[in-house]
Amino acid sequence: MRNMIKLEAQPDEIYDIELEHSLLEANEKLARQNRALLDEHGTTAIDFMGAIGSGKTTLITKLVEKLKDLCGLAVFNGDATTSEDADQIEKLGVPVVQIATINGCHLDANLVGKGLRKIDISKAKFIFIENIGNLICPAEFPLGSKARVVVVSVTEGPWMVRKHPHMFLGAQIVVINKIDLADAMGVSVEALINDVHTLKPDITVIPTSCKTGEGTDRIAETLLAI
């Protein structure tokens, strides 16, 4: 005789079952796989996030110009519809993958993983990933990058950091761009830096002007030291 007592739900009976299942785990697992693949080749991926017009593409252009003779590079450009950004980077002579998300508001680890299979990873010391211009959604989806950079600009106004705090909590570097326009905008760069450090004391903040080039050497040095 078996000792097991088996209880079965009766018709019309209501009951609960535990169903532990993370809804973010699928992306996080793919992000870990991307990271493992990158580590295997000694490649560092950097994820650039920020609003449309904050200067992500211009910054990546400057970094490619500075670093392309020093080490292998590749760039992934996420864009909902156009290939403007990828076209601009392609002119610099580095491998570019255009990732069109169509209706998607963020890149995810699956799309980046597909991109990684399109290039020769072993030839790239750095892969710069330009995320979709969006200040909320990308924060939820790690891609497998070693560092996340948030690009903000003084033209986004004085309260930009306070209005989008989540974006900064998971980032390691913040670039405050367009400082050449700070006076015209009446925005204090110091106050923006203080806001970022209030949210996350150990984050690296680099004020820049991608137009004049000010601060871009420091960003390149910071990335090379990662």
Partner: protein, 130 residues
């Protein structure tokens, strides 16, 4: 609108479960959303209800519980609730990664996830006659 991606994953998982349990009706789905995740409950609910239409999940209730963030400090050994930047905005306190004790950087131990915890079912199969 990343809630749409999250809701799609949720519905996909539940329909997969339902396919294995066709004699049960899902009445309620209970989720936990961490304070550190950037998921809006109302948008998620709206997306869920929209996607669930004309599937076996139509009419089920989505119950969402918030999980508070827990942080720990490597500098002063503090572990607990994070520090909030109350004066940042008029409408909502803003969570920071600053230690409430020593002011240095903290790490988050809890509050990142968004997970299905349990489902409430109605058994609809007919018991075999004895």
């Amino acid at each position: 609108m990343h809630e749409l991606s999250i809701a799609s994953g949720l519905v996909e998982k539940l329909l997969e479960f339902f396919a294995h349990n066709p004699e049960r009706t899902i009445l309620e789905v209970r989720l936990e959303i961490g304070e550190l995740s950037h998921i809006d409950s109302e948008q998620l609910r709206f997306c869920y209800e929209s996607i669930a239409k004309e599937t076996p999940l139509e009419g089920s209730i989505l119950t969402i519980a918030r999980v508070p963030a827990i942080v720990s400090c490597q500098h002063c050994t503090y572990r607990g609730r994070p520090d909030y930047w109350d004066e940042a905005l008029a409408s909502a306190p803003v969570m920071t990664m600053r230690c409430p004790h020593c002011g240095k950087a903290v790490e988050a131990d809890q509050g990142h996830d968004c997970a299905i915890k349990s489902v409430r079912l109605l058994e609809t199969h007919t018991a075999p006659s004895v």
